[in-house]
Amino acid sequence: MAVLSEPQRISQRRRFLQRIPGYVIWYVVMIIGAFISIFPYLLALLTSLKPRNQIFSSSPWSLPQPFTWQNYLDVLQKNHFVDAIFHTMIYATFVTIGQIIFSTLAAYAFARMRFPGRDTIFWLYLATMMVPNIVTLIPLFILVKNLGWIDSYLGLIIPNLFGTPYGIFLMRQFFLAIPADLENAARLEGANTLQIMWEIILPLSRPIIATLGIITAVNTWNDFLWPLIITYSDDVKVLTVSIGAFQSLHNAEWNLMMAATFIILGPLLILYFVFQKQIVRSIHLSGFK
């Protein structure tokens, strides 16, 4: 560290002092912004813990009086909400596992293997990322209907099972950054491709697999339109569809509605704070080149 002369030190100190108002303003703006971005969660949680009559008698920010879990009990006991949680978990688990396995395999082929048509096929994958869901929705519905999979796990899961172009793209970006030397060395030892994937690539790819897994699980958890058109009975209904139906029954019973929404949003909030590093990584990998 360079030794500063007395005048330099004074001017540095003065500069710091001059910047203090700026820092204060910065923190104030940031805190207000942060509040804006999370207040709906706080409000939903607060409302979900209030008795019904308090909703219409005092300010939305008033504390619950008395504090009650009754709304959650009501929501969970009625409307097959517990079942819906279970169905959503099955849906998310299968789609996530499928996405990880099939995207990894395809991404490895794109990143490391040479075969005719590779670039064309990869380009095709990228192009299909731009096909809006709604475009394929009608034919998919007809297809699933003809297969007899309407209102079943098969119809829910199978069309989403084989990996998305996004997942493949994300994994490929990561694989390209792994040095090929390790694989080459393993090949010299006589390892085959599956062994190389299992023993070299997968251990190195844990972070990106975590990222892809979380993103897929969250997207599936949040998915609404496909389950909405493909399921109707309480045997396979997922949470998003249940809450849509719940809304039309209990419109404006905000204490119940907020308990129901927080059952969906709460787990995501926890997941987000636990895995934020993995989640932010997807942004760094998918934005560039």
């Binding site: 971005s37 409000l43 909703i55 219409f56 809006p132 709604i134 949040n222 509605m257 969906i264």
Partner: protein, 329 residues
């Protein structure tokens, strides 16, 4: 990449001669060539094996449906009756139907309300958060929280916030003497309210992208600009903005595509109303297909949406290709 692959096969034939066909020692050009081509064949075979599940998925669940929707758009079909070919009639119906053009206008208006403001806010936030102060990491995390939230649930939470009599927003505005604004039941305010929720949900996500882009701009550019006495504003327009162009392009394309597809929040908050004021295009298609079962007509509508998105994406790509001239690698 390619040279590495070739290299690998050469080393293999030199160092591991027993691995190949019995008569060859990996010396003659001919045998190396033959071995190489066999290796490549094996690699091709393996690659397609690895690709096959996702390729089958892509064919059956994306490409085939895209083709099917194109074919369906020339048919009159109500799912129950037998489909019959009607040529371009669905499309002429679309062109003549004022509800369609209204719905397209609503969608475009939604984008005008949503995208520019969101990009500006995201840019401002990214620049504010691109510094080393205590707590900056926490703010980055907090700002992106809404991005992962379930849209259908969010829509319901915001419905509560927008509630005219008991909601948090009107309750807050009452401090300033503003009362009883009908956010979601007024034809003028419903769409801006939905755009506001969309901005609230995606601004943190866009910010993270832009922040990653900002962090990729080398420090020395700013240092030399400072030495040259450039003002912060001119630094922003001559360094930050041009170098951020690819990131901005990416965020813009993503936002346009997402905006065209907005559905869940509309479904939760307004169901297209009041009147037709939030009847965005996706919602209109959904209704035609799955409430009224005008399957052929809805397929034609999907094709229209698809074509619009292709044109928009290409136009954006061309526009930005002209402008992305800086390469600092």
């Amino acid at each position: 990449m390619r040279s590495q692959q070739t290299n690998r096969s050469f080393t293999k034939s030199k160092r591991n001669p027993l691995d190949g066909s019995p008569q060859d020692g990996g010396v003659s050009h001919l045998s190396i060539h033959r071995r190489l081509s066999r290796l490549l064949k094996r690699e091709t075979w393996e690659a397609y094996l690895f690709l096959s599940p996702s390729l089958i998925g892509l064919l059956v669940f994306t490409l085939l449906p895209v083709a099917a929707v194109a074919v369906l758009s020339f048919y009159d079909w109500g799912l129950i009756s037998d489909p019959h070919f009607i040529g371009l009639q669905n499309y002429t119906k679309i062109l003549q139907n004022p509800v369609v053009s209204h719905s397209l206008i609503v969608t475009c208006w939604f984008m005008v309300l949503n995208i520019p403001l969101q990009l500006i806010l995201a840019m401002a936030l990214a620049m504010l958060l691109n510094r080393k102060l205590p707590g900056v990491g926490l703010f980055r995390v907090l700002y992106a929280v809404p991005w992962m939230a379930t849209p259908i649930a969010l829509g319901i939470v915001w419905q509560w916030i927008f509630d005219p009599s008991y909601g948090a927003l009107n309750n807050f505005l009452a401090i300033f003497g503003i009362h009883n604004i009908q956010w979601l039941s007024s034809q003028q305010l419903a769409l801006p309210s939905i755009a506001g929720v969309t901005i609230w949900q995606s601004v943190g996500y866009s910010m993270l992208f832009l922040l990653a882009g900002l962090q990729g701009i080398p420090e020395y550019l700013y240092e030399s600009a400072e030495i040259d006495g450039a003002s912060p504003i001119s630094t922003f327009f001559t360094i930050t903005l041009p170098l951020l162009n690819p990131t901005l392009f990416f965020v813009l394309v993503t936002e346009v595509i997402n905006s065209f597809q907005i559905f869940d929040i509309v479904y939760a908050m307004t169901k297209g109303g009041p009147g037709d004021s939030t009847n965005v295009f996706t919602f209109y298609i959904y209704r035609q297909a799955f409430e009224f079962f005008h399957t052929g007509y809805a397929a034609a509508l999907s094709m229209v949406l698809f074509l619009i998105l292709i044109v928009v994406t290409l136009a954006q790509a061309l526009y930005f290709r002209k402008r992305i001239v800086y390469d600092i690698s």
